[in-house]
Amino acid sequence: MTVLEARGLIKDYRGIRAVDDVSLTLEHGRTVALVGQSGSGKSTMARLLLQLERPTSGEILLDGEPVARRGKRLTLYRRTVQMVFQDPFASLNPYHDVEHHLARPIRLHNPKMSADDVHRRVLHLLERVRLTPAAHVARRRPHELSGGQRQRVAIARALAPEPGVLIADEPVSMLDVSIRLGVLNLLATLQREEDLGVLYITHDLATARHFSDDILVMYRGKIVERGPADSVILDPQHDYTKTLADAAPNPDRRLAR
């Protein structure tokens, strides 16, 4: 049972404070949405939580213990916290086939597994993200797949080490509107099956409300509002949240006018 906690995270880039005193908790089985406009520091939060960048101050705790920056405990952290990137066209290496992308994380976290077992796990992962026939997909290269198929491969890669926490940085913003719902439903199903803690980073209030339990609204690096999904959307307190909620198309309001 995994709990990932961030306490008072601050990140400065040459005089610009990208993330300002942000605290949040990701628990297994719960989805937290991080909502905000472009440049509000959402993606920087993801990078900090994944230890791709060091926070200027503040700490990140995994199950109550400060996270390691190197060695065996970093490997354990990498196994526990995984990520789905925004752009499925950039997050898969054009030189390698799908099998490589899934087999590497499995091998890294199960060094003693035999080649046959790794291959079976790869096929199983592909079936879990509904990419069938798995044996065919495994031999494809990224450029032979559509955007939605690639994002499913990226999700399978994130699930390969059997993580406890999944960070999804705008996982559907680069996809066609017609397939967004499919990918989001897949993420929701996998989250229930694996009992994952999910941080869903987005700027889309509607999907944030639909798919998450809690919503954090981020504005200029600060969390300006937090609470259960419905109450944040239906009863916004902060001015910025109100603006966001008003900006979303609302057929009822339009009819009433």
Binding site: L52, D87, S91, Y95, P105, P133, H136, Q149, A154
Partner: protein, 313 residues
């Protein structure tokens, strides 16, 4: 919701190696290049001693001497065979050294980042602004006994910096790609990310840089030798031209003495350039649609071709 169906009737592709498509351009380059390399490899085993003098000086091509003789009666064909081998050795040594130096200072520096990148980049820039030919002339003039190896090393040291900068630029762009970050998140080791995730995507660029380095080395060596600053112990195309010049081959009309090495230089340079163009078309697919062959592939008429050409001018 199911994903888009994947076509079942398409056969599973086997793992492919990244090779350029065999266009007429590439085929011509490969055939000429391969013929010259074969001649350089096998030729010296079949001909007589290139330094053996005889009484028939400055004779034109005949049955006995297929490419005639030099002023001192040495067989030009024999010299050409040994010279081809010499020039190719220079090209090979410089190619390998340039690859190693530019990959180390360009790729490793850019990937490591921080002060390592700063230091490597500074060193590369210094090497880049050192004027190559004068330095080569000074070094060659300073060392009396010049071997082929020494000349190659000098050429390599003065020529790797340009490719290092090109490689550094590409590596900087590749290292921040999402798929590299994804491998870090997966827990890959740093050296393995460089070797398995980044390096394969640099292969076309590396290949084109090496081909360019080989052309530069062979032409540079020929220039040095022509000035009398080349290797003193072996034949190359440049030394042949140097001796032909000293023997007044041009004024005496002994075309069989200076045309063969000159032609070999031109042909080999052209062959490598053709190969390089084909590799460039992989790196930059935009170049592909600029060629006439590609336009003809779209079944354009002569008239349409003319218009297309005008519009790109």
């Amino acid at each position: 919701m199911a994903a888009n169906p994947i076509a079942l009737d398409v056969p599973i592709p086997r793992r492919r190696v990244t090779l350029p498509p065999l266009t007429a351009k590439l085929a011509t380059g490969l055939i000429i290049g391969a013929a010259i390399v074969l001649f350089g490899l096998i030729g010296p085993l079949l001909v007589q001693d290139p330094s053996r003098v005889s009484d028939v000086g400055l004779a034109g091509p005949s049955a006995e001497h297929l490419l005639g003789t030099t002023q001192t009666g040495q067989d030009v064909l024999a010299q050409l065979a040994y010279a081809t081998r010499g020039s190719l050795i220079v090209g090979a040594i410089v190619g390998v050294l340039t690859l190693a130096l530019s990959a180390f200072f360009g790729i490793v520096g850019a990937y490591a980042g921080g002060w390592v990148d700063e230091a490597f980049s500074l060193f590369t820039n210094i090497m880049l602004v050192i004027p190559g030919l004068p330095v080569v002339i000074v070094i060659s003039a300073y060392v009396a006994d010049r071997s082929l190896l020494l000349v190659s090393v000098v050429l390599a040291i003065t020529s790797w910096a340009g490719s290092a900068r090109v490689l550094r630029g590409s590596t900087l762009s590749l290292r921040s790609r999402d798929y590299v970050l994804a491998s870090r998140v997966a827990g890959e080791k740093r050296w393995r990310i460089l070797a398995v995730e980044i390096l394969p995507n640099l292969i076309p660029l590396l290949a084109s840089q090496v081909v360019f380095a080989v052309i530069f080395a062979i032409l540079g060596e020929a220039g040095l030798s022509y000035l009398g600053l080349g290797a003193s112990d072996s034949f190359t195309w440049g030394t042949m031209l140097y001796y032909a010049q000293n023997g007044l081959a041009l004024r005496l009309g002994a075309w069989w003495w200076f045309v063969p090495p000159g032609l070999m230089l031109a042909l080999f340079g052209a062959a490598l350039s053709l190969i390089n163009f084909s590799i460039d078309e992989i790196i930059n697919p935009k170049l592909r649609s600029q060629t006439r062959a590609a336009r003809r592939g779209w079944r354009m008429s002569r008239e349409q071709l003319r218009k297309a050409k005008e519009s790109t001018l």
